[in-house]
Structure formats: structure tokens, C-alpha cells
Assembly symmetry: C2
Homo-oligomer: 547 residues x 2
Amino acid sequence: MLGLMQHQALTISSLIDFAERHHGEGQVVSRRVEGDIHRYTYKEAAQRSRQLAGVLDALHIEQGERVASIAWNGYRHLEMYFGVSGSGRVLHTINPRMHPEQIAWVIHHAQDQAVFFDMTFLPIAKAIHAKCTSVKHWVALCDADKLPADTGIPGLQSYEALLAPQSPEYSWPELDENTASSMCYTSGTTGNPKAALYSHRSTVLHAYAAALPDVMCLSARDAILPVVPMFHVNAWGIPYSAALTGAKLVFPGPGMDGKSVYELIELEQVSYAAGVPTVWQMLLGHMQTNGLKFSSLKRTVIGGSACPPAMITAFNDLYGVEVLHAWGMTEMSPLGTLCTLKNKHLTLSEEEKMKVRLKQGRGIYGVDMKIVDGSGAELPWDGKTYGDLLVKGPWVIREYYQGAGDALAVMPLMDGWFPTGDVATIDADGYMQITDRSKDVIKSGGEWISSIDIENIAVAHPAIAMAACVGMKHPKWDERPIVLVVKKPGQEVTREELLAFYQGRAAKWQIPDDVVFLDAIPLGATGKMQKSKLRELLTDYLLPDLR
Amino acid sequence: MLGLMQHQALTISSLIDFAERHHGEGQVVSRRVEGDIHRYTYKEAAQRSRQLAGVLDALHIEQGERVASIAWNGYRHLEMYFGVSGSGRVLHTINPRMHPEQIAWVIHHAQDQAVFFDMTFLPIAKAIHAKCTSVKHWVALCDADKLPADTGIPGLQSYEALLAPQSPEYSWPELDENTASSMCYTSGTTGNPKAALYSHRSTVLHAYAAALPDVMCLSARDAILPVVPMFHVNAWGIPYSAALTGAKLVFPGPGMDGKSVYELIELEQVSYAAGVPTVWQMLLGHMQTNGLKFSSLKRTVIGGSACPPAMITAFNDLYGVEVLHAWGMTEMSPLGTLCTLKNKHLTLSEEEKMKVRLKQGRGIYGVDMKIVDGSGAELPWDGKTYGDLLVKGPWVIREYYQGAGDALAVMPLMDGWFPTGDVATIDADGYMQITDRSKDVIKSGGEWISSIDIENIAVAHPAIAMAACVGMKHPKWDERPIVLVVKKPGQEVTREELLAFYQGRAAKWQIPDDVVFLDAIPLGATGKMQKSKLRELLTDYLLPDLR
């Protein structure tokens, strides 16, 4: 027997409809490529999203076809989130930090029909347009008078010129909620990029969950700064959750440096910000150098890679900002776990609470997880046993987009569970802690050493800004860890001092065999350290006892 | 093109599975009919819910068949929420405050196969069992040794005796998320009761929404006291949202008086409570009489009927408890609007904020609403224009259960929208305010007078405990309002003094023509004032100028 409730598909258009109707005067503030600050309301965002849908109709882009963006976080990109997906097309958000060759590859793989780009990325468009045979329309996200006369891109049009003649009256199509809505390629360390193809249903369920008090805790009273890019897993779903809650949105545009981010937080009285550790490192650096404080920021979610404990402490102790540790993946829309406390923790000391906060967190309803051994058998939740982390849920991918031709991108599920490639422990209260990426874990003498643990100890040293631990082949131990470090400006530390720092902080056999000093550690397109690049650098390296 | 995300049905069993797995040690505390306090964990709740599912299998109750409860808020009732619905049967929660004849009527209408009741309600079961021909199993929610020897109910069994032999190992069936999960009859003021038939999907979506920061704001750090009964629209969905968030649950059982509620709040360090105004009136009365304070309570949601402003002020000013005004209906699962502030209100004075808080609130994403005139045309959101309030969304009913035979219960939608029977205004920020029930509004000389406004003024008088305003027929004005009041114990006020109190608080033509003093105002099964009963009392009443 079926229930007798109204049917209403969970669609992305219903999110912007809701924001327009119930939060029409809610603010959307953007730092633009032009450098100025742009302000408008959800009502205007909704109207222009519908105008964009009209543009796509006029360009004869069919339902289900892909429309790409190469853009910063800003209001025009927001309109693409709602106008492209809401009208039944698939928004393909491209990471501009990828190599142009790779960008051309993903545009071809997705068979994008149109590419909309911020003027910052005109050089990319110029470099690749000739190779992108699927693309019928190139659109610059700017006013008509900002369009350079001769770009060499045939038929390049300005976004505003396209929007202007369209009516804000437009009826969103009624879509099956399982219709594809957007896609995001994840840059595999090996092989070609693979895409997650999100649906309206997965996006809306994720938007509900992301706004929960134990997740990002978003309300109509918040002013949200997504520093995490909209080209990176839909800015963790914040644009959708903001529309769902009516929160004020503050977009940083290209201004991702510490000074720009700080100024925007203060100017717009941001209460909540979200981003990856590298951005917060720059923000904290700017604030410490200039003796600044926050006047409105209350909470931040840090994810994308494991957050150094020192950063959590700095935010909490110096600035009174609650730091939530988060973990997720492109393949998970992305939210998987958030580290918020439970009722039983309320009576703990601050020190004991901090121990909990250092973990990646516990699952949100909708995501289940487990750790398994090599044979796939589930391992206990004791906070000590580690194993391969698997997840499942309605916002986790079932398979990659058109992955069948690529050995690495075939149906990835193991008995219905998605293998994350992370190695983790889960404790009795359900708090998960990533101990390593499966491929980064160092196997020494039959034991596993977590590269993350070794890195966290290094960055806890006052002279170290950044650290990467990699395993080097060793004839007796299989692998031995070494640590590659970048010193803070003006700070000094010797190899011997740093190795001595590990005494008492790690078991003897876990202490790295060597320290390599670098000027910089290469970061990937999403701000993560590129260990594959580091391993290339170390091709001729020999461990001390093998020299 | 469809997205490539995992399919996972939104089912009630997945809520208790999540709570068991991720919040296994989370607490469920219940005051029992036996008078003692019972404590266990979500893990035990989940195990016993599965044992109950085994019982229903053993009793040969089929998928989709109805199983009724007549019970207080407590752990065994919680097990029915998950065990009955989770295993594919439909939980029919019966309001024991209905007349036994009406209870027998709804049992027959729902064709309940089994009735589970708290021992408090044994007299009801005794009175009606012979008439309930659909019921094959009567089960008392108690231990085997608490079962009276001779109840006269054939084959009466104890819940614990049934559960004991069942294994906690049980695989929940995989259900279509649109499967019916539970039902609740709403006591119409005219005609027979009508039932909302909820689905797994509507229940889970409502559970997500209910936990949002702008709704009940539920997290794993909360200890929640649902004073609103589990037989009344699923206790506003709190049992489901608690499982979804892992919050501690505190059940009051039969102890709904001020003293019992206060003691439980303090003993279990309740942070959040929800209920109807009449219960809070008793709680505030107990606290004022005894000079008590709260040590843990932070928030309360008050709904079910419009909350008198004096009560919001008392909670805020005397006890530092944030009061959220809420509005909903049985037909809406029940949440429709909650009154939380927006970002734009943060800089308002406390007095201006209070003006916002007095409204019933703004829509949650998932619920849309509109006000219409007599012809169905949408009216403006200006905070002044009032009209019939219509709603729609995935947790709003499409039609009543087997309503086709009843003229009042046929397909109720108007062009896809459910007519609530309320008259309301909506302001430019989306805040809705109920001005009256359509049937209670007083039509005087072509103008409408809100009975709620007149009642709120009366209860703001220090000597008045409760007030009801009804319209009396008048040859010239159509209707004129009179107010029926109950004085506070030991307080005095005359007819003339109370009428004088209206001067300056209402327009002259809105001031009641008369005051009638009563010892009590009859309350319905859900704690609302029964104006139909009052009108019966007034059959021979004449307005002063007609005497």
C-alpha cells in the first residue's frame, strides 16, 4: 500500500524557486574578476537563472547535454548552477588549475556543447578552443563591452549580451528527480580524470544534510563564504544549501589570498566559511602578521585534506572560531563525515574534546561507512584497527561517467559499497580518522606507517610550514619514511633537530630516516600536495643507510 | 540522461539502522506508566524494534496492514514507530483522548489488525474490543507479570512476552519509499475523523527538514523532550529526527503535569522541548508557584495552536528560553512554518525582534504556501492582506485515507494545493501569521475580526488564565464577538474591567460585546479549545443589545 502524500520531485529548480519566494531579499555578494564588489538578491539570481535557461533554449542545447563552466565563485557561476541544471542540462564545472591539455580532454570526454568562462581564463579558452570539437558556443562571463575585439575564438559571445534579450519568465521543466544535474571530474593520480555525474535527487538530499546542525549548520541568519571553489565538487554543495536555507552568500571571486579573504569576511560580516587547509594557512598567516581579529566569523569547516592540529588550535584559541573537521570526496557530492561532538562529550575537558575534534568525524544520516580488511571482511569500530574505508548512500556515485572504456573507471562498487581509497580507523562512537591514502601509507617491516601522522608532527615544529612524508624502497624493510619539508620564512631548523623532534612523538620505527628541505611542495589543482610529483623529484634519492 | 548516483530508498528502517550504527550508545530515557524511569540505548531500541518486526511476522500481519497504538510517549511506543513501519506495516497512532466510540470507529475505518495499548488505556480496550471486529490481536505494552488475570479481552497478550522469543537479527524488507508507513486521524469538528496516510519518503524528508537549524535545530548534542504526544502527528516527527541526528530522547510517559515535566527536564538535562501551549501553561504555572529555574533548557517549539504572546515573553524574559513559534497540521506531517529570524533581523532591537517572533513563521524548504481570495486568486505578501492559506510539498497529503465515501474527505486539493482551513497574512519576508481558522473568524459589518487577536488581549490581562472568542449572530452586524474567560485561581476581574482593558488594544468595533465567565473551557483531544462545545453552551445566549 502506498502513502497518500503529494509527489514533488527533488529538483534543483525547486531550490532557487524557494529562495526567490521565501528569501527574495536575501543577499548574494560577489567579488568580481573586475575587482569590484557586486551585490544582488536571491530574487534577481532567480530571474537571471531563468534568463540563462532561455539562452540555452535559444542556443538549441538539448536536455541532458553538457554545459561547462571555467569560473571563480561568483553570482554568474551561481546562475549557471540553477539555470543550467534547473532547465535539464548538465553543468560541468571545470577546474581551471588543471593543465590545458587535461581541460581539453575533459571537455571532449563530457562532449560539452558550450563553455562559459571568466575572463581570467581567456588564455585557457584561447589555448584549447580549436581542439574542443564538441563545443558549439564559447561564452565569456562578462559585459558585452568587456569582450576583447580579437580573441581568435570564433563566435565568442558575452554572457550579459546573451542574457539581456531573455525574459525572466520561464517555466522550469518538470524533471524526474534522478535526472543528471551536474558533473565534476576528479583528477586521478594515475590514468585520465573520471567524472561523478550527480542527479537532482542526490543534490537536494545532500543540500538538506549539509545544512544540518551537525554538518555545516546553515540558517537564514548566516552569511556564508564558500572559499572552496564552485569548480571543486560544487563548493561542497554550499550554493544549494544556501538557497535551501536562505542564507546570505558571499563569493570571493579570484581573491583567494589571505588579505582578500580576511577583508571580505569583515566587510560582509561572514559567520561561516568553508575551505581547504592551504587557504586557511594563508588567511592565518595574514592575520598573524598584521595582528588582526575576526568580528563576525563563528564557524569554519576545513576539509579537502587532513587539517593539521596546529591549525584547529590556532582558530579555536587565537580567534575563537569553531573549526569543524570534515571529510568527503568528489565521488560523495562531497560530504561524508563532519566532526561535531555528541551529548556524551559535553562534560569532557577542553583537552579531551580536542582529541575528538582531531578526527575526521562521524557519518551524516544518508552516508554509511565501514572499514574492511584485504578480503573485504568488516573490521571492528575500536579506534585502533585500520582498514580500507568504504561508503554508501544516495549521494555517493554508483559508477563513473562513461567509464567503461577506462580500466580505472569501470563500475567501482564492492558489493554495493564505494571504495574510497582511504585507510581509516573508526571508534566506538562512530568517529572516523583517516590514517592515510591507501597509496600513501608506508609499509615498513610488515607494519603500516601513516604518512599523515608523520607530516602532522613535522608541521607542529615551530619552524616548519609544510611537510610531506613519502615511503622510499628499502631492501630489508620494504619501505622507509622520509619527510620533505618547507621552512617558515625566516625560521631555521636542521635535519638533526627535526629528527630529534620526533622522539617521544612517534614510535622509534615510525621516525623518518631522513629530512629533505625544499623551497616549495607542489600542490595539485585542488590544493592538495602532489606526492606523485615529489616521488618524481626523488628518483635518484637514496636512503642514508643505502648510500 | 539519468545521474549515476547510488539508489537508496528513503525508509524509516534506515533511520533506526543509522542510529544503531552511528549512535549506538545514544540514550533513550522514558518515564513509564509504572512510574519509574527506564533507560536504554539506540542499540537496544534497534534490537527490540527488530524483535517487534519478528512478532508481527509471527502474528501473520501482512505488509501494508495496519497496527494500532494507544500509548504515551515512551520507549515501547518508539519501538512500534520503527518495528511496525520498518517492517512494512502501517502504524496507526490513536489519540486516547477521543471518545471510545470514536476510537472504535477509527479502528474499524483503518481495519487495524492488532492494537497495542499502555495499561493506562485498559479501560478503553475493555470498552471497545467487542466492537472492533478487524482486530485479531490485543497487546498490552507491559511485562507478562503485569497483565491482569481477567480483562475480558480474549487472547490479550503482554508485549514483553511476545518480544522475548524473537531474535534481534531481522532483515528489514527493501521497500519502495512511497510505501505507506503510518497514519494519523484528525478529529474534524464536523463529520467523522479523517486520516493522513504518511509514506516512508514523506517521513524521511520531513525528518531531515525538522532537524534543520531554522526548524527544530536538532543535533547529537541535544537532549530532546517531546511533550507533544506520539499519538499526535508522530510527535511532530521528533522520534524520526532524533534517530537521524542521534540526539538523546527523553519521553514523559503519562507525566504531562507541570511538576513531572519540570522534574524530567532537570533530571535529564533536556536542552530542547516541544509541545502545545496548554502543557507549557501548566509548566510555567508550576515554576512560578515554586520559584523554579531551568538549568539546561535552551529552546522550545510551541505549536498546535497559536501561542499567546505572554507565554513567549515569560519563557524568554523569566527563564532565558528561546521560544520558536511553529505552525503545522496533521495533514502536513506536521511542520509547515517555524518562526526563526533572518540575517536582516540580526541588527534589530529586542522589541522589533519580538514582533517577528509573534508570527507563526516562514516556510521550510519543501513546503510552499500561498494565500488566496474567494476565487482562488493569489493575494499579495504584504503582511496585511489576509486570505485562505494553501500549502503544498512532499510531506503534505494528496488525499485522505479511504475518504471517498465521506463528502468531507474526498480529494481535498485545489489545483495541487491543500487548503488548510486557516486564514492568514504573509509578509514580504515570507512570515505567515494565522489570523483565524476560516470557521472561527467573526464577520462583523463586512469586516473580519480575528478571534485569536481578541483572545490574546484577554490572556494578557493579569487575572485571566484562558480565553475563547466566538461570534454570535446579530441582525444588524451579521456577527458580533463575545469573549468567554477563565480567571486565574485567586484573581478577580469584572466584566467592565476586562472590556475596559480592550480600549486602545483593539479597534472599537473589534471590542467584544460581552464577557462570559466560565470555570473551564472544554479542550479537545489534542488540547485545543473546543469552540463547537462553547457554541452549544451558548444556545440560549443573547447579546446585550438584543436582550
